[in-house]
Amino acid sequence: MRLRVTSIFIVLIGLMLCCSAALAQAEGKFKLKPGARGKLCLSCHSAFSEKMNAKHIHTPLAKGDCSGCHNPHASNHAMMMDGDADSICYKCHDSVVPEAAASVHQMVADGECTACHDPHASAYPGNLIKGGSELCFECHQELGEKITSNKYSHSPVKKNCLRCHTPHASEKSASLLKKEEPGLCLDCHKTSSGGFKKSHRNYPVEQGRCSSCHDPHGSNSGAILADNVHEPITNGMCNQCHNEPNSADPFAVKKDGFELCQGCHYEMINEAFSKNRLHWPLVDKTGCINCHTPHASSEDGLLRDSMLNVCGKCHSDTLARQDRSQTKHKPITDGECTVCHSPHASDNPFMQKEATVIAICGQCHDWQTHSSHPIGAEVLDPRNLNLALDCLSCHRTHGTEYTKFLHFSDIQSLCVQCHKKYRR
């Protein structure tokens, strides 16, 4: 008897839950009148009906579920969105970024889905704003221009970026690549042919990283080698640095660090070694290739990356200071660290190219040589008589949180550091 009562009770509760869920479904979040969804919105937003003729329509819109994304009453977000841009798309598209993805498209990370997608309708699949690579080049403009103007092109790049890259996030690969190198390349390039082996001097390059020599986006060098090629590569003399191709460890280098490079670049290294101070990475185990790539690079001087990124790899604080600074120092903005610093060695502090700060700054700021606050070796700094006044007495070249790289928030605060009688 007791069991029967309990069973009836459970069944009744179940029925009530089902009914209430069905009722909620029917009325929706905003309890719209029957037939009011979508059509009701379009009765005012009549211009919007054109969107409905597009080839690809976003599913909620196609279902007339405008309130899936918009709040018809009030919102804290533009376009009466029912949440911030970061979260609203993820309500449905929550699998776009895999957990612990190796790389994520900046736009996706920033929640800028509408930078690529039209949230309502579009002529292109995936509701993309534009088709093919044209969309990518809206942001990656420089790369787009390079791809267009390259003498030697990589055909998949010309066709579509998505042949190699995934647009949202890559689970395992950097740079949004669909697969890691060389696997990605080997999907198209067969390595067993005699021609392939011959052109790679019989080195088992299929085990290596293709982009250490080739520019996958195309280049002005044959075989889409990056624009600047290290001479031994040009001459097919891989064994100048590496073991023989048929050896047990063909990619191992014959010497470590700078000792390998010294064989050819002895003049540069000897000159560096004659200076009072070295840039220490030059003489660590990695040596020259801390900053340079040994094969080919699209950057001048075979740099691994743009100068700003190469230097910033270790000196991130310097770049962060410039970022925070209200006034930007042009050589840093331009990524030209070597305007002031010597990258290998120097006789001067901070690897400066010139012996004095005034001489360095004077390279660009020539006004100070004829008209400025007294500076120079004879003008002592009242704050510390061991120091002479120079540009850095008032400015910090990589920037401060104040304007004009000043050490203090305003001119008065700066000047009274020395001119104490004017202190308020």
Binding site: S274, R277, P281, V283, D284, D317, P349, N384
Partner: protein
């Protein structure tokens, strides 16, 4: 009831006593040196080594070493030793009183007698593996052993007082931007990766390094030099941040001291640090062209 409550309070107080830091470090300015024996200004000194009653400054910009005596009341220049062919960067005093100097130009360690005469250079004997070594920094311990931070072969080389190879400890994998090391009285070796903002330790007898402290970049900009006090606290000179950072022997960040500036008690691109047995702290205040001396008060 009252008894158990009182017991709880006692346990709580004892717990607080054991859990809370045993010491709070205060640093008091004692004085600064600005000139050599001839009264000439120091010029961007990068190195300082300390004894109990004297200290040595690597006056880098003037290519010279300067010796100072130290009493409770005064810091007095005693001797200036010009080294026109050397760019002195880091310095140490041996148990015998000889002065060891890392020469930036040749990247060798030059040895100088107490009266300023050059008596040779460090020539390690019996190093295994690569014969090439590149000392980015070095330290001497109280037994006269020499520890070379060999960035070329990625190891700390330990040599005895006769410069014979004793052992080496390889750098930890995946980290290579080491700029300085410190040796505790117990024989632990600490190495500083200024780029990553990490400190590694190799405890006495260990043949490898383990991570002691990471994420230090949250608290400092570009630490380059390392020293250790009698309490085991590590002192880092934050060159680019123009300050000092303290790290406990458990690797915990203990705070920053000083700020950037020109007045005494302020720093401007500090370089080498030295702490003597009395916990007197010496800082080569490079861009202020002086050495500042402080007392560490562990309270």
């Amino acid at each position: 009831m009252h008894k158990s409550f009182a017991r709880m309070i006692v346990v709580l107080l004892l717990g607080i006593l054991f859990v809370s830091p045993a010491v709070a470090t205060k640093i008091k300015h004692r004085g600064s040196v600005y000139v050599d024996k001839a009264g000439s200004s120091l010029n961007r000194p990068e190195g300082v080594a300390c004894g109990e009653k004297y200290f040595i400054v690597a006056d880098t910009g003037n290519n010279q070493m300067v010796r100072y005596s130290m009493t409770d009341q005064s810091l007095t220049p005693e001797g200036t030793f010009p080294l026109p062919k050397i760019s002195p960067m880091i310095t140490q005093i041996s148990t015998k009183g000889d002065i060891y100097i890392l020469d930036g130009k040749t990247r060798t360690i030059v040895k100088m007698g107490q009266s300023g005469q050059i008596i040779g250079k460090v020539e390690p004997k019996g190093i295994p593996g690569s014969k090439t070594y590149m000392s980015r920094s070095f330290k001497l311990d109280k037994k006269g052993n020499l520890y070379l931070l060999d960035i070329f072969s990625e190891r700390v080389l330990v040599l005895d007082a006769a410069e014979k190879y004793v052992r080496h400890v390889p750098f930890p994998e995946g980290s290579s931007s080491f700029s300085d090391l410190a040796i505790s009285d117990q024989g632990s070796i600490y190495i500083l990766d200024g780029v990553a903002g990490a400190i590694y330790v190799s405890n006495p007898g260990a043949d490898s390094f383990e991570l002691l402290s990471s994420n230090l970049k949250e608290h400092m900009n570009f630490p380059t030099n390392l020293a250790i006090d009698s309490n085991g606290t590590l002192y880092l000179s934050d060159q680019y941040g123009s300050g000092l950072a303290l790290v406990g022997r458990d690797g915990s960040f203990q705070g920053r001291k000083f700020g950037m500036g020109w007045e005494e008690g302020q720093l401007y691109y500090p370089a080498q640090l030295c702490i003597n047995k009395q916990d007197v702290l010496f800082i080569a205040d490079k861009n202020n062209s002086r050495v500042q001396v402080f007392s560490i008060l562990n309270e």
